[in-house]
Amino acid sequence: MLRIIVTTLLLCLSTPLTAAEIETGDKMLDTAFAQLLDRDFDVKAAGVEMLAGSGHPQAGELLRGLLEGELRYLNQPARLVWMRERSGGKFAVDVLDGTDHGEFSARKFKKLPINNAMRAQIRSLLAQLELSDPNPAVRLKSVNAMLENPEPEHAALIRSLLQKEQESAVREAMHVVLALAGLTATEPERRRRAIADLSDSLEPAVRNGLTRLVNNDPDAQVRADAASALRKIEKRVVLFGHLETLFFGLSAGSVLVLAAIGLAITFGVMGVINMAHGELIMLGAYTTYLMQQLMPGMIGLSILLSIPAAFLVSAGVGVAIERGVIRFLYGRPLETLLATFGISLILQQLVRTLISPQNVPVSNPDFLSGLWQINSVLSLTYNRLYIFAFCLLVFAGLFFVLKYTWLGLQVRAVSQNRAMARAMGVRSARVDALTFGLGSGIAGIAGVALSQLTNVGPNLGQAYIVDSFMVVVFGGVGNLWGTLIGGFGLGIANKVMEPWAGAVLAKILVLIFIILFIQKRPRGLFPQKGRAAEG
């Protein structure tokens, strides 16, 4: 701190400022602004410090503007301006006297460059300013920000504010900050009390503070206390770590299930080896992209509408494939495999020619970004939570269709005994087309979900085709439950192994496991039973 001020003073004395000076009448503010406009990031940082300490009523707003890039700089005449949005356009408004500088242009009004170190510095300064914000949520955020970057001067500030604080959540966070400061107290007694206060906090800063005590504290009793508190905390951290792995596995599994469940119908129920399944997923993802292009500005709604749209597009293409190619090849699996592989190449090239050979950007709606912070060691990302729920929903829907509708009844009848079903008056050709369309449509829906997680490009489908077959074969051909359990099982196995085996090896191990498993149980986890299954 002192070093920065000294260097700043030296710099101010020795180098003439490159930028024109802004006259405000306030000596301190003048220097602060001049420093902010300097090229050297250390000088800028000193300017930020000075601005925050100036007590200027606009200081907080200025710092936030600097952070968000809304504070801009005009060279001739030297002015600081706000970039403000008004009636559809962007305008430049003077920071000091509010005069209008006309329409905003990024070339004329230059950004004040800041770097990562300055961003962290501004956030920490803002946290101090915001500690007395009327909104408790803002106060809690700023106390938490202090926990992340603990500084010795925070404790005094918090102690003075603690008396006034009413909100219990904020008080609790403040106590942790104070106890953390207590870890470095000179009297062993106070250190031990602080350790007792902190023994059920999961904050990383607490763990680091305790580790330091365990290793360096001169007092043996304090060391023992810290070690036992640390052990207690570590135990909980490990437990939450397992929960996190489970969640990661379930979410990876839900992607697998979504990708595979359409295949479970076309391959599992109908017995068609459809190599173009991945491309049907890709078509669903591209439908999402096109819907977003059609409805600019309404990302959330366009995603919801993409679900039925993608179903229709992929189902349509699926029915066309079945009527045009596959129906001539029933009972000839090798030919089907080659023909559908050709179709997959055609579909890929079609997208390359019609849309773009490059990946297309699909935006995420706000409700799909961010995370749910359960505590400081366990947090779940919203997009994964939604996809998990979505996967269960699709599964339930499909299960209902197959179990309780007329179509489902006929599908099951045809798949169990085609000749008998036809003898009973089921039009098996039509059922085949509809079944294939249903499976393809589900693949399209999977595409919508995948567009939120991964790159949308012509090769999207190829990344999932092998995984999909793997899940269906592992789970048991012709059984939806098998696909669900198989998908989740493989997802969890993958995520459990990934931390110690690495992503590449984990994948290989899973494949080896499946090969061995299939040797033992050729019909998968849940084989179909009964006479129909033998044929």
């Binding site: 990024a106 990562n116 961003r119 680091n208 990661f248 997680l453 995520k495 931390p499 690495g502 992503a503």
Partner: protein, 430 residues
């Protein structure tokens, strides 16, 4: 709209190529042929097509200035289709059938390794414009991209100066990240970083499920020491990686990511708001402020007929490489590859960041190293720049088995793999 403009651009490109081809047929005798060996289809087309266009632009501009040695230049464009063996075939076609005097091309290291024997056998010149892992110096190749000491090491130095003490080296599983990370690990250890403060992680190409890796990075970074990620993650796996970082709430202030394969081209088309503050190390950024760069950007926009297109580091490398070749041809007074190859050493031409880049005896060039932070408009803001130019080092000083090796293609040494300890030149040229 997108599609229409694509189609227009495509038809334009086809016209240009045909026109050039026709023109070439008419005046074949008095032109100098320049080969362009970049994939125009397949997985690498995304990056390499831009470089083909850059070469066409540079050649067009040189012709406007009156050509070279009183002759016009003529571009011969071939498409190796992201297919490594095809690169070698196409290179042979360019040199033997088309009789080009120099070739500008390749992106991936494996494509360069594939054409190397062809260039050495037929004694022609290749200008390679992409940052790479080093450990190579061929008589016939001129490396205008960065060697590891011109990109990776200065980036690590910058982060160290910012107080970073724990390091995650994350990369895609192939030769460039593996070699670079080996060098970086040796460098970090030489700087006194403990083994337990380095975490190395490799993922397959196109990896998309980053949850547990990002969670691991988060845990690794919460041990009370400032941490950073050094990323050699390649290609489109970067998009879900950065998305996951944003979703798990890791900001550039807590754990910055410095990337060596993410530039303006890769950022165009993705939402960069969550990425603000993450870093990249290159030798050129589009946001460099000086007249040469402004002129280059204007010329590029005019040539490609779109104001939205960005410029990037490998484009600058071709700019430097092409101008070096032009100067060397002038110096030698001939386009004969052997004479030009010798004349190239010591040639210095302006780069786009306001300095002079020179070709060194080891066939690498001098370049400034810039560190930039990603901005919300997809551009980089330069936060650090080496005071002078850095000489590209073909053989890393931090790897066992490579630190005693130097490359010097001047007579009398004339060796790309000379061991100073045993004073022997390995017969292998690269």
């Amino acid at each position: 709209m997108h599609f229409a403009s694509k189609l227009r651009r495509l038809s334009l490109a086809v016209c240009t190529v045909t026109a050039l081809g026709l023109a070439g047929a008419v005046q074949a005798a008095d032109t100098i042929k320049v080969g362009v060996l970049h994939s125009l289809s397949g997985t690498m087309a995304i990056s390499e097509t831009t470089l083909k266009d850059t070469m066409l632009m540079l050649i067009e501009e040189q012709n406007k200035k009156g050509g070279l040695l009183g002759k016009k230049l003529e571009a011969v464009v071939v498409d190796p289709a992201s297919n490594w063996p095809l690169f070698a075939e196409k290179a042979r076609e360019l040199i033997e059938k088309e009789k080009v005097d120099a070739v500008f091309g390749c992106w991936t290291s494996v494509s360069r390794k594939s054409v190397l024997p062809v260039f050495e056998e037929l004694n022609s010149l290749l200008f390679y414009p992409v940052q790479y892992e080093g450990e190579e110096s061929s008589k016939n190749v001129f490396y205008t991209g960065a060697a590891p000491n011109q990109q990776a090491i200065p980036a690590v130095d910058y982060l160290m100066a910012q107080g970073v003490q724990r390091w995650v080296l994350a990369g895609t599983d192939y030769v460039y990240p593996r070699t670079t990370n080996k060098i970086l690990e040796a460098y970090l250890k030489a700087k006194g970083v403990a083994e337990s403060d380095i975490m190395i992680n490799y993922t397959p190409f196109g990896h998309s499920d980053w949850q547990s890796i990002v969670a691991d990075i988060k845990k690794f970074g919460s041990a009370g020491k400032k941490s950073a990620v050094v990323s050699t993650i390649n290609g489109d796996a970067n998009v879900p990686f950065y998305k996951e970082l944003g979703n798990q709430g890791i900001s550039a202030e807590s754990i910055p990511v410095v990337a060596f394969s993410v530039g303006e081209e890769e950022l165009s088309g993705i939402d960069t708001k969550p990425l603000v503050g993450h870093l990249a190390a290159w030798n050129y950024f589009m946001s460099v402020e000086n007249d040469a760069n402004d002129a280059f950007i204007d010329a590029w926009h005019k040539f490609i007929k779109s104001e939205a297109r960005v410029t990037n580091d490998p484009m600058e490398a071709h700019y430097i490489g092409f101008n070096m070749w032009v100067e060397a041809v002038k110096k030698a007074g001939t386009t004969d590859p052997s004479a030009v190859g010798e004349a190239l050493i010591g040639v210095a031409v302006p780069n786009l960041s306001g300095g002079l880049s020179a070709m060194m005896p080891n066939h690498h060039i001098t370049k400034p190293v810039l560190i930039g932070e990603i901005q919300d408009d997809g551009q980089f803001q330069i936060v650090s720049q080496t005071p002078g130019l850095v000489v590209g080092d073909a053989w890393s000083d931090y790897l066992e088995g490579s630190k005693d090796i130097i490359a010097d293609w001047r007579a009398p040494l004339s060796c790309g793999n000379f061991n100073v300890k045993t004073a022997k030149c390995s017969g292998q040229n690269y």
